[in-house]
């Protein structure tokens, strides 16, 4: 089930007829992405109401199935489902029959037998959501699988850029850091290039997914060469293991060459946005004062995530089976 990084897992093969699953953005057309973003805009209005609840998914059961730790994604999906009046069940591998050796497929089938209409799954193995989608009747949303994809995060990033800048087409977006191990970077590359934006993956050669080649994207090693020309800078979290594993010399040197420091921020265009998928390593890939600068939209990314996930749930869970 493990998949070589850069290889296509084939979400398209799982989908037939009207869309049932959100597994990655590689099988979403530009129109479909646009439709999700427009639906999220309507959902955003619900979040501004005194009673943040609409009955759109009444009677539907949404299961949060997390085999990996998560704060914002799990809570965001839970809040989104509750805002649409769905019943939410949280399942985590620890303390479940997974510890007795139950397989992923059997666990998923059990959840469907218990009434799950939607399974939101995060798993350390790339392709795990696809396996669940193929083997159960539930709608499946990928909440992050291995290094492969994190479509709801990419959609909320697209939504945030469109809301702030007014368009996606023609934008120049720099994703900085460990794109090789990042499912967020991968899904953003698919989504952004599909919408006509240009993506620059910037970082040390050891951390760039050189097998990923799509029209509209390119690699760059020197952050200082591009910092002044981009519309969006998105640093990715640097894990300490990367330095220990020899992929980067040290966290200090990483910060010097690729960290979004106050000095680099000063060289950005004044209207450029600073984004971060979280969780942050302040002082490594982004300086603390940069994260709270006026150009930073990191907090709205989190809020927008709820609206995007409401849109995904509505579009996937509401349809007749």
């Amino acid at each position: 089930m493990s998949v070589v990084v850069g290889e296509k897992i084939g979400a398209a093969a799982v989908q037939q007829g009207p869309r049932r699953h959100c597994l990655d953005l590689d099988d979403y057309s530009a129109e479909e992405i646009e439709h999700v973003l427009n639906t999220a805009e309507a959902m955003q209005e619900i979040l501004a109401r005194p009673v943040k609840k609409a009955p759109g998914l009444r009677g539907k059961m949404v299961v949060n199935c997390f085999y990996e730790s998560s704060t914002r994604t799990r809570v965001s999906f839970e809040v989104a489902a509750k805002n649409l009046s769905a019943d939410v069940v949280n399942f985590s591998a620890g303390g479940s029959s997974v510890e007795k050796g139950e397989s992923l497929i059997d666990t998923a089938k059990t959840l469907v037998a218990l009434g799950a209409n939607v399974i939101i799954i995060r798993h350390s193995m790339a392709g795990a959501p696809h396996v669940v989608a193929r083997n159960t009747g539930a709608a499946v949303i990928n909440a992050g699988d291995g290094r492969h994809a994190h479509p709801s995060q990419a959609l909320l990033d697209l939504y945030t850029m469109r809301a702030r800048i007014g368009r996606l087409s023609g934008l120049k977006v720099a994703i900085v850091g460990d794109a090789l191990h990042s499912r967020v970077a991968r899904s953003n590359v698919h989504g952004l290039t599909r919408m006509g934006a240009e993506v620059i993956l910037c970082g040390p050669a050891t951390l760039l997914p050189v097998k990923l080649q799509l029209p509209g994207m390119r690699f760059e090693h020197d952050l200082d060469a591009i910092i002044g020309e981009v519309d969006v800078v998105m640093p990715l979290r640097i894990q300490k293991e990367r330095a220990e594993g020899g992929l980067i010399p040290s966290l200090r040197e990483y910060r010097q060459r690729w960290g979004l420091t106050a000095a680099r921020m000063a060289r950005m265009r004044p209207d450029a946005l600073i984004m971060h998928p979280g969780p942050m390593n302040p002082g490594v890939e982004i300086d603390p004062e940069v994260a709270v600068a006026p150009q930073s939209v990191i907090e709205s990314q989190v809020t927008n995530g709820v609206a995007i996930r409401m849109a995904l749930l509505y579009l996937l869970a509401g349809v007749a089976m």
Partner: protein
Amino acid sequence: MSPEDVRRALTRISHEIIEHNRGVRNLVLVGMRTRGIPLARRLAERLDEFEGVQVPVGELDITLYRDDIGMRSVQPLVGSTVIPVDVSGKTIVLVDDVLFTGRSVRAALDALIDYGRPKAIQLAVLIDRGHRELPIRPDYVGKNVPTSIEENVAVLLRETDGADGVEIRS
């Protein structure tokens, strides 16, 4: 109905709204997407003309409140809702183009109540074509049009369709 008929019906409804509510104090017009919105705006223009008061106009999308949600293979598009004022304590005039089964109005009532506790909700429609499936009745009607259940009533408005008019299509 000709463009003139539509104009006269809206003018009469505006007078009825003023008469019934003894003025327009505390009134909010809420148009139901799609064609209820331009109708609500036109009523607001007349209320301003007759009473010299600008009545707030809201826009309501009922997609998430429909009772047939999840019964289709593709989800209908969710439109935006804009309620410009706190509805609590206000008299709301809900505006739609055609009143048919009453299910849209039922959904609209649920949606409105999520925004607060209005003092009262009244219903204004350009066309009442009958065939109610729920105990709902309009307060203001442009024209009663008896129809067979197979027929379609098409309300055309210049804002959305280029010209005003009402047609029965079978």
